[in-house]
């Protein structure tokens, strides 16, 4: 047994498979610039399945572990189908992309309202006023209907990535 206690976040009240994912507009950050984009338009443009990946702020080891693993699993080769959401500013996200030579794109949501609308927001103890997303994954079809989801219930908690790819239909 590890000599520490994992914080239990408990179950989240998140959109379930079959339900429509909440739509939102936020700056979408690429390795070159950021501009306001709307999720439903992005999904429509891609004409198919899109994976939304929520992580804690870039700079945290939690975000780094997740995005390193996704790169390791070549999710970045599917980058046009994968989009991150985090509570970092556009500047913070862009620095993270540069530091990790990453080609993923992220919605920047410092107010964390997007995570709240997905029922997966988490207020940080000791960082008053800062809320960030839990680690969470949603597979969306072309109409933004949720097809598969995984949401952390502990903090920290990471998915079994083989099972996750199965759940999200990436196998």
């Amino acid at each position: 047994m590890p000599d520490f206690e994992v914080v239990e976040l408990g179950p989240a009240d998140h959109p379930e498979p079959g339900e429509t994912a909440p739509d939102f507009t936020r700056p979408l950050v690429t390795d070159e610039f950021w501009e306001d984009r709307t999720l439903s338009e992005l999904v429509d443009e891609r004409d198919g399945r899109t994976i939304l990946v929520f992580t804690p702020m870039t700079g945290s080891f939690l975000a780094k572990y997740v995005w390193d693993e996704l790169a390791e699993r070549d999710w970045d080769e599917r980058a046009d189908r994968v989009v991150g959401v985090t509570a970092s500013t556009p500047y913070g996200v862009k620095r993270f992309l540069a530091d990790n030579d990453s080609h993923f794109t992220f919605f920047s949501d410092p107010g964390n309202e997007v995570a709240a609308s997905y029922g997966i927001d988490h207020d940080l103890d000791g960082m008053t006023g800062i809320s960030e997303p839990r680690v969470a994954f949603f597979a969306l079809d072309a109409d933004c209907t949720v097809e598969g989801a995984w949401i952390a219930t502990d903090w920290p908690e990471f998915p079994d990535y083989d099972d996750l790819e199965d759940e999200l239909g990436l196998v």
Partner: protein, 101 residues
């Protein structure tokens, strides 16, 4: 399939840059639809602007209505006024004297 058309004007800008804000004011004054692409303060991190406009300075405006790509705020202001303005200010003011905009 997309429900909303892409805005014809793309505006490369830097947060808080007064030269960019000058262009913002005019775009709004002429009620032009545009999308903002924010870049970073360091010129070395503005490859996209270099690629699009051949320079690393902002503001840059790309107008698909006319095929014009333009840098330098003074040039952009002249361009927007001559393309979308209603002549010089006094005339424009007189012409709209009875209107509500």
């Amino acid at each position: 399939m997309s429900e909303t058309a892409e805005p014809p004007i793309t505006f490369y800008r830097l947060q808080g840059c007064p030269y960019c804000e000058r262009v913002t004011r005019l775009l709004n004054e002429y009620d032009l639809s545009y999308r903002s692409r924010f870049v970073e303060p360091m010129h070395s991190e503005r490859n996209v602007v270099k690629r699009v406009a051949g320079v690393r300075t902002v503001p840059v405006v790309v107008d698909e209505n006319t095929g014009v790509t333009m840098a330098e705020s003074a040039n952009i202001v002249d361009y927007l006024e001559s393309t979308y303005g209603e002549g010089d200010r006094p005339d424009a003011a007189a012409a709209s004297a009875g209107g509500d905009d």
